[in-house]
Subunit: 201 residues, 2 copies
């Protein structure tokens, strides 16, 4: 018979058409970083879910650090969504911010990125810096129309920490009572506290 055993490996060399391979990799990276964090998501695993050789990731992105940065930066504009919610009546700013922030955790586009950041920031200093940078740019974007007293800074930080805690409890640790609430009732419950931090006595 001597049938030539097909080596069943994928052919080497460039593919035809516009293979959205780079995007496939970014999608896989986004999902795996979200699931397992920076350290937990291996380049090899990302390559496998993208259906691609690990070396191709190196070809496109250089090293893992850069892949992570690209994944996070390329896919979302988180700060500006918060900034938008700041505009408007001061009496209802708590509700607007709470809704805008928690909504980002509900949407399929943004949730993986936020999960990636949180899962990674908690274990790796590298990612913690990136998260602080994002938060910093948010602060800076509001800096224009508000003077930044220490008092005001502290109020914002407390509100942010509160929202952060709610989001982690709901989407990362999945503490039962909070994970099961609807988005709207959660906003109803939380926004008074946020309003109080931002504008209360």
């Amino acid at each position: 018979m001597t049938v030539e055993q097909t080596p069943r490996k994928r052919p080497t060399g460039r593919r035809g058409g516009d293979s959205g391979t780079r995007d496939d990799i970014l999608d896989a990276a986004r999902d795996l970083f979200a699931e397992r964090g920076y350290d937990g998501a291996s380049i090899r695993a990302i390559a496998m879910t993208a259906g691609v050789d690990p070396a191709l990731i190196r070809h496109f992105f250089g090293d893992k650090d850069n892949l992570f940065a690209t994944t996070v930066a390329d896919r979302t504009a988180i700060p500006q969504r918060i900034a938008e919610s700041l505009a408007g009546d001061l009496d209802t700013i708590g509700r607007r911010v709470t809704d805008a922030y928690l909504r980002m955790w509900e949407e399929d586009d943004t949730r993986p990125v936020l999960l990636s950041l949180v899962r990674s920031a908690v274990t790796s200093d590298r990612a913690a810096e990136m998260l602080l940078e994002i938060l910093g740019s948010r602060a800076r974007s509001t800096e224009m129309n508000a003077d930044f007293t220490d008092e005001r800074m502290r109020r914002i930080a407390l509100a942010a920490a509160h929202l952060f805690g709610i989001a982690v409890a709901r989407h990362v640790i999945k503490i039962p009572p909070i994970a099961e609430l609807s988005h709207d009732t959660l906003v109803d419950d939380v926004s008074p506290a946020i309003q109080r931090y931002l504008t209360g006595t």
Copy 2:
């Protein structure tokens, strides 16, 4: 010459006296799990900081999972400290709980354990379960003198999520404005919100 080269390795076999080696290992494990989380802290690194051969850890604790469990369980009684703070006047319960909770994050005995739990719970499901179990036992310990309506459950969960967010912002991510506040002013700022969640309208 033929001087017998001293192999300068540590001698094998049992040590004299009551070498508190087991405790040394637990201390090293506590610190490293706190710094790097479950996955990041390797048995080898723990052994090295304890000044001990990695195999000894296996000898004492079997596997890594068990070492982690022992580290967390053996070293703290977290739930009961919260439970104690619940006793007393209902009008000031927010402040008492806030103070008791945040104080645990400040003390050298308890902080590493909490850090370990958080750092690990965020990336590993195994640790997330343990954390839920601890939170659960806290809930159960209050169950005795309070009926558990959904409403009450939700209030507690929201307050817990808030405190959790503050603690993570302060001790894990170290967001500047919050990390730099003193314990007392932080309690001053946060406890009204906690009081409101627990007993407010």
